[in-house]
């Protein structure tokens, strides 16, 4: 249960677990992409997932908001508890789940609509706001994504006219507009230049205070920089998980050390 935030010592108690994953396995047809993953992701912090290509980290990330459901021939076993409720139970409304757990993708994918309509898409379909309220919501989301100043005069322009970094921040604003609890990021900076990358990392740091963030990244420096805890995946298994500082300076597992020091991957 989350601790009472009014208690005087609340900032000292350990943050609660947002996700608890138990024995998660995932199959694409016959191929097993995830093998019995167990871990806990704490709320309101940044957790990084690292590992070489094909190790399952993206598959794991997508399991957290059931995006893997859209793949033909996919099978999931095990449990993923979001605030103590297993999201893989049959009665769970996937649509509501995805509102709470949002996702940013590797390549920015704004809709072929105006900036405003992009942000408004989520609130419109979920019925969150209309008219003036909607305008305010769009502005709030863009401000939270540190994009408002740059696009406030261009709200009716096509989202595709923005630069790569701006488009990615737009995608972040778009998901913030539906008021999620969790933001999943799948290598969000890999298609961006260093300056845009830096801005997104700054953004992540600001968002950390209100949202739980899980980021998959190839960039170990980035993981070390921004995250509080890190998990190392290899061959579909979670090899090691713990405070980032420890993982990157004295990892416990031989394989983690080999990856970190660049011996493979």
């Amino acid at each position: 249960m989350p601790s009472d935030s009014l208690s005087p010592r609340s900032h000292q108690t350990a943050p609660a677990d947002k996700f608890v994953v138990r024995g998660l396995s995932f199959y694409y047809g016959r191929f097993q992409a995830l093998r019995g993953i167990n871990l806990a992701i704490r709320e309101r912090q940044i957790t990084a997932l690292i590992g070489p290509s094909g190790c399952g980290k993206t598959t794991f990330l997508r399991a957290l908001n059931r995006m893997n459901d859209v793949i033909d021939g996919a099978r999931t076993e095990g449990a993923v508890l979001l605030d103590s409720e297993d999201i893989y139970q049959p009665h769970v409304d996937v649509v509501a789940l995805r509102r709470r757990v949002g996702m940013v993708f590797q390549r920015p994918n704004p809709f072929p609509m105006s900036v405003f309509d992009n942000i408004a898409f989520g609130p419109r379909i979920h019925g969150l706001a209309r008219g003036d309220e909607l305008d305010a919501l769009v502005e709030r989301s863009l401000r939270r994504a540190a994009l408002w100043e740059e696009v406030k005069d261009k709200l009716r322009d096509s989202a595709l006219s923005l630069s790569g970094g701006q488009q990615q921040r737009l995608c972040i604003a778009r998901l913030l507009a539906v008021d999620p609890d969790v933001v999943l990021m799948d290598e969000p900076c890999s298609a961006l230049d260093p300056i845009s990358t830096l801005r997104i990392e700054e953004l992540m740091d600001e968002l950390r205070e209100s949202y739980t963030i899980v980021i998959v990244t190839h960039n170990m420096q980035q993981a070390a920089r921004v995250s509080r805890e890190t998990g190392f995946f290899l061959g579909g298994e979670l090899i090691e998980f713990g405070p980032s500082e420890r993982i990157f300076t004295h990892p416990r597992d031989r394989r983690t050390e080999a990856y970190i020091t660049g011996r493979f991957g």
């Binding site: 979001l82 605030d83 409720e85 999201i87 009665h91 769970v92 409304d93 649509v95 509501a96 789940l97 509102r99 709470r100 379909i125 979920h126 019925g127 008021d179 609890d181």
Partner: protein, 291 residues
């Protein structure tokens, strides 16, 4: 702000969204079914009406004199075959060699112009092509003729054959070409002996597709080959063809002829569908041409 995950406590909005989703599923499935219904109807009627009128006489006899029962469409069937042959004499060389040009050298402006013209040509209504060939061939010759019909159909073949040839020749891997060139083959030899050989299955099916199309065409023949009730294989005389014969019989007031029209339609549909289906099946997934 957390919202309940459980679906068993739906808000009105959620059910509305799910309802809309479900309606879409139902609606589009219905549309797909509705799209297939006419095909079913069509094939059913053609078979039901045509089969009773099909007999040996249909394939071997000439049309009986007006009003008399019996007779067949032997001359029309042979006529169609002759017309297809003539059309191929025009359509295949232009189409295939033109397609080769486009595939091998066609990246320039001229190639663009050729492709554009072929596209325009494929959009010209078949009756307009018939009129064109009337002015071009029938008028100077002072008569309708099989030749004119062949020219009209040949012109119609060109865009299809050119397009499929170009696509399939392009699909032949460069490594094959380079292997031939490295052995000292000239460009033309490479194309004719190696590339065409590799692409031949596709090119042939492209040709079959084109033939399937023109076999059923009536409009361009109305004022070129014109049609005939007699046995005729001379190229400079009018010639009967299956589609035109079906048309003539269909609009006639005689029951017997109308029944034979269905039979003719059945034969046409069978040939055309088999050719089309085979051609489409053979090139499935490999070509991106649509219809």
């Amino acid at each position: 702000m957390t919202s309940p995950l459980a679906r068993h406590r739906p808000l009105p909005r959620r059910t509305r969204r799910l309802l809309a989703n479900g309606l879409m599923w139902a609606g589009t499935t219905l549309c797909a079914a509705a799209a297939l219904v006419p095909l079913g109807f069509l094939l059913y009627y053609v078979a039901a009406q045509g089969l009773p009128a099909i007999n040996l006489a249909f394939f071997t006899h000439l049309p009986a004199p007006v009003g008399e029962p019996g007779g067949g469409m032997a001359n029309a069937i042979v006529g169609t075959l002759i017309l297809i042959g003539l059309a191929s004499l025009l359509g295949l060389p232009v189409g295939i060699l033109g397609g080769i040009y486009l595939a091998e050298f066609g990246g320039n402006r001229l190639g663009g112009a050729i492709r554009f013209s072929a596209d325009v040509l494929s959009g010209v209504p078949s009756i307009v092509i018939g009129i064109f060939v009337y002015a071009l061939v029938v008028v100077p010759m002072h008569r309708f003729s099989a030749l004119a019909g062949g020219v009209a159909l040949g012109i119609m073949m060109i865009p299809t054959v050119m397009r499929t040839s170009e696509e399939l020749i392009r699909l032949v891997p460069t490594s094959l070409r380079e292997a031939a060139l490295a052995l000292g083959a000239t460009h033309p030899r490479t194309v004719f002996k190696v590339v065409l050989l590799a692409a031949r299955a596709g090119v042939i099916t492209g040709v079959l597709l084109a033939i399937a199309r023109i076999a059923g065409e009536t409009a361009p023949l109305l004022f070129t080959a014109f049609g005939s009730g007699l046995w005729s294989t001379q190229l400079d005389q009018p010639i009967a063809s299956l589609p035109v014969q079906v048309f003539t019989y269909a609009i006639s007031p005689y029951q017997d002829w109308q029944a034979q029209a269905w039979a003719g339609a059945l034969v046409l549909v069978t040939i055309v569908l088999i050719l089309s289906a085979a051609a489409r099946y053979a090139t499935r997934g490999r070509m991106r041409t649509v219809i």
